[in-house]
Amino acid sequence: MASVPDIFAVAQTEFDRAMRRNLKGLDYFATSGPKLGASPKDVLIDRGTMRLYHYRARVDDVYRVPVLLVMATTNRGYIFDMIPGQSMVEYLLLAGFDVFMLDWEAPRADEKRLTIDSYVLDFLPQAVARVAAETGEPDVSIVGYCFGGVLSLLWAALHPTPLANLATFTTPVDFSAMDMFQSWADRRFFDVDKLVDTFGNCPGDYLYTAFDMLRPGARVAGNVRLIDNLHDDEFVKSFRMFDRWSTDILPLAGEYFRETVKQLMWDNRLLDGSMTIGDRVIDLKHITAPFLHVAAEHDHIVPTAASAPLLSMVGSDDKEEVVLKGGHVSLVAGANAVRRMWPKLAQWLSVRST
């Protein structure tokens, strides 16, 4: 049991916090938060929904093989480049890599016709070709995050030649293990054709709600924690960064969304080996480059069970899976990422990038 002076000390601390909370609370609403994704870069391709960035090197001598980050189509790529000191891009640049990123903007209304083929047979090959033209190197290391990882796998299975290394983060291959999404995409109730035929592209709000409902208590608890910690500048900065990113959900091109639901969520065709891209059957055994998969122990979006078969499906001899503490987002941008994932990735790539 605490003594009387302890109670006074606690009361004093809480009073101080309350005062600072009020003062900083005003500041919170008067400012717009840290600038995200600000590492200096050049835009190499600006084509409809597709963006290819080249980050400016921070060292005079880089590894021979360039690194191309492939972002998930639902989210913005600045999760890889939050702020100085909390940026995977900056970390890789300082570790001596030449870094590119394939990122996405919201698809235009006419881009509702884009399919999975468009991403795998057009956008990704164009990005890889441009990286080769920019660097003069024939091969490239690909790092895909979430569905960016799925696209990277599909591309790599069809284009083994220019691939030096492939790393994927929290990348699902067994879509039947994504319980919550399976329930919502239940073919008995979910009329994906009507949704796409009516809206054209799948609205971002629809996807935002789906992601938000994976953890129904998280948003309320997060906002209460924000009020509780308004006195703490670091907490507020971190909250704003991640809150902005997690609410910045992109719409998905209509046909692409329709195919994703039917081929992957309903029929699980990547896992059963019947998925086709451009009339060619996808067999991940064709991927023979060194392969690394990083999963998050507490991933609520892509549970570890959804990515568990991946390692055995890939044909590489040099392959490794690492399961790290953290969730879907903190794996790539949280404190654990800074301490564990980024050093692991940089080390894994460095010995395979000369």
């Binding site: 049991m1 605490a2 109670i7 606690v10 809480e14 050049d42 190499l44 391709i45 084509r47 409809g48 080249h54 400016r56 060292v59 005079d60 001598d61 880089v62 590894y63 021979r64 030449d98 235009r108 209304a109 006419d110 881009e111 509702k112 016709r113 441009r130 033209a133 920019e134 660097t135 003069g136 190197e137 919550m180 329930s183 919502w184 239940d186 008995r188 109730f189 979910f190 009329d191 009507k194 949704l195 035929d197 009516t198 809206f199 054209g200 409902m213 994976l214 953890r215 129904p216 208590g217 998280a218 309320v220 608890a221 209460v224 924690r225 509780d228 080390q347 460095s350 010995v351 000369t354």
Partner: protein, 120 residues
């Protein structure tokens, strides 16, 4: 939880309770949201919205056609054609400008870096 319950700090107790509430809500709410009943209800509501949207779309298309105005679909087709032209320009630009995006005054890094000792 037990450790917090023995403290006299009400703020610490509140924070612990908030964490517990969040876990419970995620667990119970998650189970409910995974249920067949929820999926049916949610998609029923979504279908109603989608139907209303589809009816509005048809109505607007007819109204625009009657007023001799271009429809959304026609604008989308036009946008797709502009997109095609942009793509062609991007290809030409890539052919002309590959490797020339570097800002003036900066030089290309060499590509001979080797991993630090002991990392191989």
């Amino acid at each position: 939880m037990l450790r917090s319950m023995t403290t006299t700090d009400p703020a610490a107790l509140f924070r612990t309770m908030l964490g517990e509430w969040e876990k419970m809500t995620n667990s119970v709410g998650g189970d409910m949201l995974k249920s067949e009943e929820w999926a049916r209800t949610m998609h029923g509501a979504s279908a109603a919205t989608t139907n209303a949207q589809a009816a509005m779309k048809t109505f607007m298309e007819r109204s625009l056609a009657a007023a001799n105005m271009p429809s959304r679909t026609e604008f989308e087709n036009l946008s797709a054609r502009i997109g095609g032209i942009e793509d062609s320009l991007a290809r030409i630009e890539a052919l002309l400008g590959a490797g020339k995006t570097r800002p003036p005054g900066s030089s290309k890094p060499t590509r001979k870096r080797t991993p630090p000792e002991g990392k191989a």
